[in-house]
Each structure stands twice: as structure tokens, then as C-alpha cells.
């Protein structure tokens, strides 16, 4: 089966020339969940942003291919690219508190994509939105549709964003640390909800996170990133049993565990950091940067 999203040798650089992503390649197939893990600043979110075309102004894709549903997005013209992304991909953002427009009611923010891109009638779109809100277990969806974001809690807002992401039946969803801004009790529910929705709709899901515990629960495959370079790409099961790269092993060892609360916090050793840093420099030299 061919991948729905395939990224080949993607390079993103700061406009001054500093590399942000270094030859990133990965692929996600329909019905699969691919995890992207790494430290803060490793470039996890930037991969998602490069795919969706929402990179910050100071960054630009300098090389590589982004194949979405058999088309290389970089060869398309901006308007056509926007239309394609809008019709087949969606984003579950990191912070539900800033991801909904505070000045507009919930309803139109869910139906927007259906009306704008798929050309649904308003009534159809609203019926669909109500159905979706029920699917993400929101009580009293009628009232919620007419609410403003500030009237709802963070967990509710994240459910709404999930509903909005699934609204147009996208084939790819990029979840950018969707549980980071929520408290731990809600995190678990939201995670289960995303996993359920993904399985039911057969969507390809690119799951960005820095939490290996989360990855182990929802992902099928994953890529470990360091300084914008993929250090290891692996099947879930294999990764947790035998991580190949020392950095991956160190990350796994650094994950706190409930079973051993005292001894489990092992920082990544300096020798391992030196080794990945060397690999990154080597890569840059070979690439002529």
C-alpha cells in the first residue's frame, strides 16, 4: 500500500541559512499513526507546518518533496496547493485556548471547512457538525454550537478542535502535541478520543509529541528527531524493545516510570549528545552547508 503522506529529503532553513530540518524523510499510510518525537526545538512541529503550508514567515522549504495523495505539493501553485491541503488534511493544534477564534461562535468555526472547501450548504454542514460534536462526546451540542470559546473549558475546546479536524473526512490529520496544554486527567481522555476517531475514520495520523508514553499508546511507527534530523525511524514494538540508536535508548531510559519513581529519571548522557551532535555536523558537511 502506498503512503498517503510521503516526505522525502525535506530541508527547511531559516532565511539566514541556518538549517531547521535536515533531509527529513518519513511516510504515513491511511489508517496508520506515525509518531514524531524529540526534544523542544528538534523541529517536530515544523514538519507538520511544512506539510500544511503554515511555516512561520522566517522559514522556508529549500529542498525535498512532500507527496500528499500522490501529488508533490511543492510543484503546485499556491492556490491549488491550499485547495488540496484544505480538502485532504487537517490540524489538531497544540493549544486549544488559542486555536479557536474568541470573537466567533463555535458553530461556524467547525462548519467553515465544509462550506468553504467542499461547498456544502449551511444546513448540511450544521447537521454534520452536531453529529461530530456528539461523536466527540460533547453534551448538549446544540448549545455548544452557539457558544463562544471562552464559555467552554480547555478539554471541551480540544474536543471541538478534534471534531473540526475530522469534519471534512480528511485523509491526513496532523496532531501537534494535542494534549500538552491539558491537565493530566483530561489528557488521557483526549488521547483515547483521538485514537478512537482515527481508527473509526481510517485516517492517516501524524502525531507530534515529546512524550514517549503517549507515543507507546497510540502510534504504529515513529521517528526520533534531533536538531531537525531523523535519528531513528522504527516500528513501535521494535523501538521499545530494542532501540537502535543510542540517543533513542537514552530517551527511553529518561522516561519516568510509575514503577520505579526514585531511580527512573536518568538524563541523556553527555557522550550520547556529543555523538548525535557529531552526526548532525557530519551531515551538514556532506550536504555542503
Amino acid at each position: 500500500m502506498s503512503a498517503f503522506l510521503e516526505i522525502r529529503n525535506l530541508c527547511v532553513t531559516l532565511k539566514g541559512g541556518a538549517p531547521i530540518l535536515r533531509n527529513v524523510s518519513l511516510s504515513v499510510s491511511a489508517g496508520q499513526v506515525h509518531g514524531l518525537v524529540g526534544e523542544s526545538g528538534a523541529g517536530k512541529s515544523m514538519i507538520g507546518k511544512a506539510v500544511l503550508g503554515t511555516l512561520p514567515r522566517a522559514l522556508a522549504v529549500t529542498r525535498g518533496e512532500i507527496w500528499l495523495d500522490g501529488v508533490d505539493l511543492r510543484t503546485l501553485r499556491p492556490a491549488e496547493r491550499r485547495r488540496r491541503i484544505g480538502a485532504s488534511a487537517a490540524l489538531i493544534p497544540q493549544d486549544p485556548l488559542t486555536a479557536l477564534n474568541p470573537a466567533r461562535r463555535i458553530g461556524p468555526q467547525i462548519t467553515r471547512r465544509l462550506v468553504d472547501i467542499l461547498g456544502w450548504s449551511r444546513a448540511d454542514a450544521e447537521a454534520r457538525a452536531l453529529e461530530l460534536l456528539a461523536e466527540v462526546q460533547i453534551p448538549d451540542p446544540d448549545r455548544v454550537m452557539r457558544s463562544y470559546p471562552h464559555e467552554l473549558s480547555g478539554g471541551m475546546r480540544q474536543r471541538i478542535l478534534i471534531a473540526a479536524a475530522f469534519a471534512a473526512e480528511p485523509k491526513l490529520i496532523i496532531a501537534d502535541e494535542p494534549t500538552t496544554a491539558l491537565d493530566v486527567t483530561v489528557q488521557k481522555q483526549i488521547l483515547r478520543l483521538i485514537a478512537d476517531m482515527q481508527a473509526r475514520h481510517g485516517t492517516a495520523l501524524l502525531f507530534v509529541t515529546h512524550d514517549l508514553g503517549v507515543v507507546s499508546k497510540v502510534c504504529d511507527t515513529l521517528s526520533v528527531l534531533y536538531a531537525g534530523k531523523v535519528v531513528e525511524e522504527a516500528q513501535m514494538r521494535r523501538f521499545f524493545m530494542h532501540p537502535i540508536h543510542p540517543y533513542s535508548a537514552a530517551l527511553l531510559a529518561a522516561t519516568p516510570s510509575y514503577k520505579d519513581p526514585d531511580g527512573s529519571l536518568t538524563p541523556v548522557p553527555q557522550s550520547v549528545i556529543d555523538q548525535v551532535e557529531r552526526e548532525v555536523t557530519d551531515h551538514d558537511r556532506r550536504a555542503g552547508l
Partner: protein, 283 residues
């Protein structure tokens, strides 16, 4: 489930009542000027010159706030002057707001070269001393209502452009703007549906502030005799005339001054009060 902020009841508040009350009174006075003014604001009568206000000895009935050195009724002139002041406030304020906001939104949301051009213009514009600039403009355009309005718009659009640009930049970095872009919205559509509603409270506050400023600028221009011809009553003109006879007839200077002061204060207070009410997060 429901955030408590949604249930907060916000009373209208003394500030809104007082400022709104004064401005409504002024609007009524301006609309009904010919019927409620006790005297003809232009009628000169040297027998009734420099009459004191009603509570002082020697006051004449019908001249509640006294008369000036040409025997014209101060109250009637203030009431008629409100017409001009309010026309300038509304028309100049609104035009300034529309032009400044449009340019500010474009600069702040599109960034790139439109921003560079607009921002450089704003920088250059703000280097001119505004009152001198206004006087210069009137000298070129000639006196009259239209010239005053044009002068105010040309000088003051930068105030809106700068503030709205900054707000649009903050809003543009929000996730919901990115979501709208991913959902295939065109940039213009995103600007109007996602950004504009969020900067509306600021626009309202600036607009009312600008109306107050427009009234002041008009008064300054009448004070230096560059407004409308001297026979139509203006507050600035009255202040200018009253200044010369302040030792003999203080009321000719003081009453228009108080009116001007209260009006400008009311505009700015109204803006502050409305800004709080329209803030989407506090709504």
C-alpha cells in the same frame, strides 16, 4: 462545563452613563439647535453686550449664560457650535478610522512589502508636528468644513494604522488564523473574518478617542481663525474671541471651554467603557 466568565453581568457603569449622557445631550442640541436656542446666535445688539450669566446681578432673562462683546447669546452660540463640532467628529473620525484601519490591517497581516511601504509612510508622517501640518494643509486647501475634515484625516490616519498594525500582527500569529489558512481560506477572507472581529474593541476605543481629537483640532483651527468663516459659531472661535475680553466678561471664554472639555473627555471615556463591553474574552 461552563466557564464562569460567560455569566458575569456587567452593569453599564457610571462612566458610560455620564459620558453617553453628555454626548446624547449634545447630539440633541445639535439636531434641534434652531428650535431650542433661545436667541439667534448671529444677532448682534450692542445694547445687550457683555451681559453676565443668569445668577449674577445685571443678567437679562433669555441670556442664560450671558452675552459677548457684540451682544450675541453665549448659550445659543454653544448650541449651534455643537453642530459643527459633531459633524467634524463623526465624519472626520469615521473616515480616519476606515482609512487607518484598512492600512493597518494590511500592513500587520500581509507583512512583506505592503507593510514596509505603509510603515515607512507612517514614520515619515509622524515626524511632522501635527498642528503645523494642519495649518499648512488648510493654507493649501483653503478654509471650510471639507478642508478641516480632509486635514484631520490626512494627519491622523497614522494613529489607527500603527495601533491596528500591531494588533493584527499579534492576531496573525494565533493558531486559529493558521487553521483558517489550512482550511483553504483566502488571505483576504481570513483577514476579515478572523482578524477584524478581534481588533474591533480596539477600533471602537480609537474611534471615540479620534472623535475627541477631531473636536480639539477643529477648535484649534477656529482659534487661529482657519476654520469656517467667522460668522458661523464655533467653540474654538468663541474661545478665541473670549480670550480678548476675559477680564471684563469671563463667561464668554469659560463656557465654551467647559463644553469642549466635557465633550472630549466624554468621547474618550465612552471609548474606554465600550472597549470593555466589546472585548470578546470578557463578553
Amino acid at each position: 462545563m461552563r466557564d464562569a466568565r460567560g455569566d458575569v453581568k456587567r452593569p453599564i457603569g457610571l462612566r458610560l452613563w455620564l459620558s453617553g449622557g453628555w454626548l446624547s445631550l449634545l447630539v440633541l442640541a445639535a439636531l434641534l439647535a434652531p428650535w431650542i436656542a433661545p436667541q439667534d446666535p448671529l444677532a448682534q445688539d450692542l445694547f445687550t453686550s457683555r451681559l453676565p450669566p443668569f445668577w449674577e446681578a445685571g443678567a437679562e432673562p433669555g441670556y442664560w449664560l450671558g452675552s459677548d462683546s457684540l451682544g450675541r447669546d453665549v448659550l445659543s452660540r454653544i448650541i449651534h457650535g455643537a453642530r459643527l463640532a459633531l459633524i467634524v467628529a463623526l465624519v472626520a473620525g469615521t473616515l480616519t478610522c476606515v482609512i487607518g484601519t484598512a492600512l493597518g490591517l494590511i500592513a500587520g497581516f500581509y507583512r512583506g512589502w505592503p507593510d514596509r511601504i505603509i510603515s515607512r509612510f507612517v514614520d515619515i508622517w509622524m515626524a511632522f508636528p501635527p498642528v503645523l501640518f494642519a495649518i499648512l494643509l488648510i493654507a493649501v486647501l483653503g478654509t471650510g468644513l471639507t478642508s478641516i475634515i480632509i486635514a484631520i484625516v490626512v494627519i491622523d490616519w497614522t494613529r489607527f494604522a500603527r495601533v491596528i498594525r500591531a494588533e493584527a500582527m499579534t492576531q496573525g500569529a494565533m493558531d486559529y488564523v493558521a487553521s483558517a489558512q489550512v482550511a483553504g481560506r483566502k488571505r483576504m477572507g481570513t483577514m476579515l473574518t478572523e482578524i477584524l472581529p478581534n481588533v474591533l474593541p480596539t477600533i471602537i476605543a480609537l474611534l471615540t478617542l479620534e472623535m475627541g481629537i477631531a473636536v480639539i483640532v477643529e477648535a484649534i483651527l477656529s482659534f487661529v481663525n482657519l476654520s469656517i468663516s467667522t460668522d458661523s459659531p464655533t467653540w474654538g472661535g468663541m474661545i478665541s474671541e473670549g480670550r480678548t475680553s476675559v477680564h471684563q466678561a469671563w463667561w464668554v471664554l469659560v463656557f465654551p471651554l467647559i463644553t469642549l472639555f466635557l465633550t472630549v473627555l466624554s468621547f474618550s471615556q465612552l471609548g474606554e467603557g465600550l472597549k470593555d463591553r466589546f472585548d470578546p474574552v470578557l463578553r
